[in-house]
Amino acid sequence: MTNDVIIVGAGIIGAACARSLAAAGCDVTVVDRGTTAGGTSSACEGNLLVSDKGPGYELVLAQYASTLWKAAAVDLTEQLGPQFPSVEYEAKGGLVVATTEAGARVLLDFAASQRSAGVDACVLDADAAHELEPDLTPGITAAVHYPEDAQVQPTIATEALMASARRYGARLLENTPVTGAILDSAGALVGVKTPAGDLRASRVLIAAGPWSGDVAALLGVHLPVRPRRGELLVTSRMPHRIFHKVYDADYVGAVGSDDSALQTSSVIESTAGGTVLIGSSRQQVGFDARLRVDALSEIAAKALRLFPFLAGAAVIRSYGGFRPFMPDHLPVIGEDPRMPGLWHAAGHEGAGIGLSLATAELLTALMLKRPTHLDASPFSAARASLAPHLKAASYAI
């Protein structure tokens, strides 16, 4: 079998996989119906978080990712040179705060469970929290500092990973939608159809973010990835007054929730440009990108609970994207047992930027049948927690 792979999707997951596979010597072609970083990976924040993850498989992946990012930030700069914009990697740390008694209990219990899983989650008293964030509301009931939380600029990170992949020999086909499967007589996937012609390879990897379910359907299998809308506000540039990623403790609840109605929780951070990003909402509305002022208003109100001084901040823009939501809250990474030749790297919900490098390493090891850094079975398409959500019958092609 030859080591050729077609990757569908040039978001951060596709770019990271392309880089890792190409560096390992595979013959990689990335196809995207749009351009690199044209999807969710440029409509999000660039948080690389452990703080929002409780003990479990996703946390293990995130902890692995966190070590990879530190090294990759340096490697990418070296490989791509000073002309290339910086990925703005910054290990600034996260501060999660509660503002109610009930919230405090939940947060402290959560942090204790994370510590037992090896997360650096340091409980701070109010004074210590205000030392880190002097403008934080005086009304906090608990605060936990997560020094391992970091960030990158997600669009640049995606571009950098793709540029790196191309230097390792990967090919990129933009403006080329995948429209169907090419199967051999035994029913194995051996390529994809596009308006520009057929592309053949012994493996096809779906890394199409929230559209991964649609692409899977085009290729003939069911994958329950659903879009979950998220919106953010951007302020004008202001003097630097927010130094960490600061979250309301109810963010943790929202991330893990299945609720499809509007939920908002505060995630606030400064960017290298001096603006402040204020997130975010979670709402299942299909791929409907309509502006929803009520959601923006709720995001604004919650942000003020953490940083009252922001009341005077000027909002200059809102933007949003669709998180690739999985019903059992874990990405799918690996081969699809239902169709030989079909692979997945999809369903990272609100953590795809952070998890991209770890996903790529895991996937590359699986494809090349090398030992994996961590147990890959929890991310398998064949895992038990996903089974109830998979439709048995394949699609007709």
């Binding site: 910054e90 130094f243 290298a272």
Partner: protein
């Protein structure tokens, strides 16, 4: 003083005689005419540069004059991000230049928390 108000007595459209309005700009009193924008008062006082930019520290002032470019931003009565060309001067307005330095990048000296640049 190259930018200036046309003296009303010379004005062929014969405006009503002006009522003065006094504001302070970076602590200095400046007197304009009721109904003028803050930008107009500052310009008529001969100042073209209202602030310095965040990256290169270059001076900026009025550019578009109609509220679209945001180059004329000033702080008015402790409120940031006010377009001087859009806000009419009110008696006693305290106007200050707004400067928004970029956050120090990783590895650079971190600014002291809580101390905002003037």
């Amino acid at each position: 003083m190259p930018s200036r108000l046309l003296p009303f007595c010379n004005d062929s459209i014969r405006p009503a005689s002006p009522t003065p309005v006094t504001i302070t700009v970076n602590g200095e009193p400046m007197t304009g005419v009721t109904g003028q924008s803050l930008a107009g008062v500052i310009l008529a006082g001969g100042t073209l540069g209202f602030r310095h930019t965040s990256v290169a520290g270059r001076p900026r002032g009025v550019f578009c004059g109609i509220g679209v470019c945001y180059d004329c931003l000033v702080e008015v009565n402790d409120q940031r991000d006010v377009r001087a060309c859009q806000r009419r001067a009110a008696e006693g307005d305290v106007v200050r230049s707004q400067h928004d330095p970029l956050p120090a990048g990783p590895g650079e000296a971190t600014p002291t928390p809580g101390v905002t640049a003037s």
